[in-house]
Amino acid sequence: MAEGLTLRQVGEDALLVEADRIERVTALYIELLARRDELPEIAEIVPAARTVLLDGVTDRPLLLRKLAEWTVPLHPAAEGPLVEVPTVYDGADLAEIAARWGVSPEAAVRIHSEPEYRVAFCGFAPGFGYLTGLPECYELPRRETPRSSVPAGSVALAGSFTGVYPHSSPGGWQLLGRTTLTLWDVRRDPPALLAPGVRVRFVPVPDTLSGSRLPPAGSRATSGRATDHR
């Protein structure tokens, strides 16, 4: 098996591949998708923070042998689609985030919108992507008291991850801003804008809806379509 990976059999027909760091998880996930045809049938490939779960494997011994021959780079070979997320940086926690970083709110916006992120995995709710790419020195804990309702489209961060709430839900992440993009739509293909492997940029935009914190009914985002830069 490639450097930095450990295989664990799980249950009767699953395999958990553990990586030494999240970047390798993403690289492995992209590799698994690209080379799925070479492998025995796998019902679900579920990346997470340090692992990829391969569930519903038809021939686990064969999969173990195949994966043993793989080498997985630390960085994904394929570029993956890029999604731009226009973001109004007026989140309820922006001032506190800036203070914790020891910078002005304007600088905090620059810090957050500068990196190119990568969706490492989805969890918590359908279409909720955990994005990596924020430098380690900007990690912040969750809020001590979660909010009972965080609006859909909220751009937030917790720990080393950035995320965008696809639905209104309770949540404990620190709120930086908001986007009008529809993150999740079961009638769309792909349903999740921020699916694992996707590259993401946050683009600061001014609040054009002065006085209103809600987008007008029927408004459609103009950007955010996935463009394949593979």
């Binding site: 958990l16 990829v52 349903p191 694992p196």
Partner: protein, 293 residues
Amino acid sequence: MNGLLVVRPGPLTTVQDLGRRGVAHLGVPRGGALDEPALRTANRLVGNPSGTAALETTVGGVAVKALSPLLVAVTGAPAPVRMDGRPTAWGAPVAVPAGAVVEVGPATYGVRSYLAVAGGLAVSEVFGSRSTDLLSGLGPAPLAAGQVLPVGPAVGPYPAVDVAPLPAPPVELVLRLRPGPRADWFTAEALAGLARARYRVATASNRIALRTEGPALARTREDELPSEGVMLGSVQVPPNGLPVIFLADHPTTGGYPVIGVVPATDLAAAAQARPGTPLRFAPLRGPRVRPGT
């Protein structure tokens, strides 16, 4: 039109088929009937492909009115079945004339009864499934009085089966457990004692998980586990030490260590175990761990 009018929705009645596959990486639970053999049997009794969408009740049953002549069958948790007030068969196909009300009464024992109808429930599919997913809200909402559920055209030949043997819900729930992937997060005592530990099914159990009451499983480490993929039957142990067995509507990732996985074939019995049912685990030989080179 072919359809069922919901007369009495019962405490929690949902549409279920075999659930969703291939979307766990987007955070979508698999969903689907908790007692899959009971769903399959109900469908066979009415001549449907065995994974066709049917109704899953929760303890209290359901009452529906046939808007056209229909063939139905009730399986799963045994319950009195009535048509326009007269007793009729459980576990067998029942021809229902247009306008008649079929009532599944409260479960005699067990939790979930299945009412299948020839042609299947023709609600819209989401990711290839008509199942209600109570974790993420996909699929149709739980049944409400006055709602009409569309029924598809019957495809069968008329079923050759007219009565089906079904296992009785267990007096004691014994769940086999394949240790791992995080059994090494628990003390040797917790692991060694697991086969002897006596639990009960907790009241907070639902379609997402079977929760337990009993001895807490002690961990050897208190650090946080980075979120990782979990599967049907994964037994996660939160900080209170009480095992939680993931059922169909389980989250796709979890941040607590999974001590072992219950084989899917044991979960039908779990779906029928009422709160208070004694529960124990029967550990299977653990899998190998292959370290990296």
